[in-house]
């Protein structure tokens, strides 16, 4: 049996009790994990909000798996899990592009700070030297 046929053989929509339980546990776990991250202020609030809303969107889906079948039918997607995968890939893709952008910006800022720091240190050294030259070296212990 080919993998494709195997996938098609699974009855879309029907979720066994055990799988449903697993789904609910995973979603609740993700929710608690995200909330914990937010509470300990490890995440910037805008990311917390984003992740929280993504997890919140998963809760009704976990509770009522038939929702996915309904949405897929409405959108004309023959195989409902494909819709879920498509949406997850789209969200993750957009988010990782956004993170690349953030990292580039943070990197540029760190570089500029390093340059600024080096220039300031040079200025400070020069100023100290000049003042110790004129002030007879009283205020600058070498």
């Amino acid at each position: 049996m080919s993998p494709v046929a195997l996938l098609l053989a699974i009855e879309p929509g029907g979720v066994s009790e055990r799988a449903h339980l697993l789904l609910v546990i995973v979603v609740i776990g993700s929710f608690l994990f995200t909330v914990a991250g937010v509470r300990r202020a490890r995440l910037r609030s805008r990311y917390s909000l984003l992740w929280l809303s993504i997890v919140c969107a998963l809760v009704p889906l976990a509770a009522f798996p038939r929702l996915l079948d309904w949405a897929a039918e409405r959108l004309g997607v023959a195989y409902p899990p494909a819709l879920l995968l498509l949406l997850s890939v789209a969200v993750l893709f957009l988010f990782s592009v956004h993170l690349s952008w953030e990292v580039s910006r943070a990197d540029d800022r760190i570089r500029r700070l390093a340059e600024e720091l080096a220039l300031l240190r040079t200025d400070l050294d020069e100023t100290r030297r000049a003042s110790s030259d004129t002030g007879g070296g009283t205020d600058a212990p070498a």
Binding site: R111, A114, E115, A118, L119, R121, T122, E126
Partner: protein, 243 residues
């Protein structure tokens, strides 16, 4: 005494403790009137200490930023300290101080002067086959994008006037092969750029060639960055009131 145009030599240096003292004393002997700043790009050897004991200005970066970051720091130093011209000079002994007056003279009617190893009129300088091919490719790209011919796009011996310095102090590109991007940026923003022939000594030691795959990656990156830059609106050249 303030009649002369204030000029500074910017020397980016990464772990050049071996060659730097000679380079500095040669520069001093040949061009005693020029100020010097060494930008230590996070060296782990005595580069900064040696430069300091030679009595030149030293800007020590807290960690390695790459040649582009070191240069941008040098340009900012020059602008902050009121210099009107700057020369970029290598710390590895590749450059000849006698080329500096030639560059500065050409700066009279250009914003950016590039010292080229390959323009006829100077001694010949050989590079490896891969690097030669890569350089040729960049040349062709530049020619397509700007309609100008440059023979030595990766030269590290260049002179900058005040306006170019101010532009580069803010916008100098920071990634590998930065000189090509900088050249394109300058041309695209409307700065006048010329090349003059110079002779260079072959590199004494150190790493001359990148791993080939890495080089391919960087050329692709530059190609992409160059073609997107052309579509962008350039920042206008600042009008300068001559004091």
């Amino acid at each position: 005494m303030e009649d002369d145009i204030r000029t500074i030599v910017i020397i980016p240096a990464l772990d050049e403790a071996e060659s730097l003292p000679t380079v500095l004393s040669d520069l001093r002997t040949a061009q005693p009137d020029l100020d010097i700043v060494v930008v230590d790009d996070g060296s782990t050897d005595d580069t900064a200490a040696l430069a300091r004991s030679a009595g030149v200005a030293v800007v020590s970066l807290p960690f390695n930023l790459g040649i582009g970051g070191a240069l941008r720091t040098g340009f900012r130093y020059a602008v902050d300290h009121g210099y009107e011209q700057a020369v970029q000079f290598d710390a590895d002994g590749q450059h000849d101080p006698s080329a500096i007056p030639v560059l500065l003279e050409a700066l009279d009617d250009a914003h950016l002067v590039i010292g080229s190893r390959f323009l006829t009129g100077a001694g010949d300088y050989r590079v490896g086959a891969t690097r030669g091919l890569a350089m040729r490719l960049l040349q062709i790209m530049l020619r397509v994008l700007t309609d100008r011919r440059f023979t030595d796009t990766s030269s590290g011996l260049r002179a900058f006037d005040r306006q170019m310095l101010r532009h580069f102090a803010r916008h100098y590109p920071t990634e590998y092969l930065e000189s090509v991007e900088a050249l394109l940026d300058a041309l695209h923003s409307g700065y006048r750029v010329t090349e003059v022939p110079v002779t260079m000594h072959p590199r004494a030691g150190g790493e001359a060639s990148q791993a080939n795959l890495k080089l391919v990656y960087h050329y692709l990156r530059v190609l992409m960055s160059m073609s997107t830059r052309v579509g962008r609106r350039p920042e206008p050249i600042p009008k300068e009131a001559v004091a």
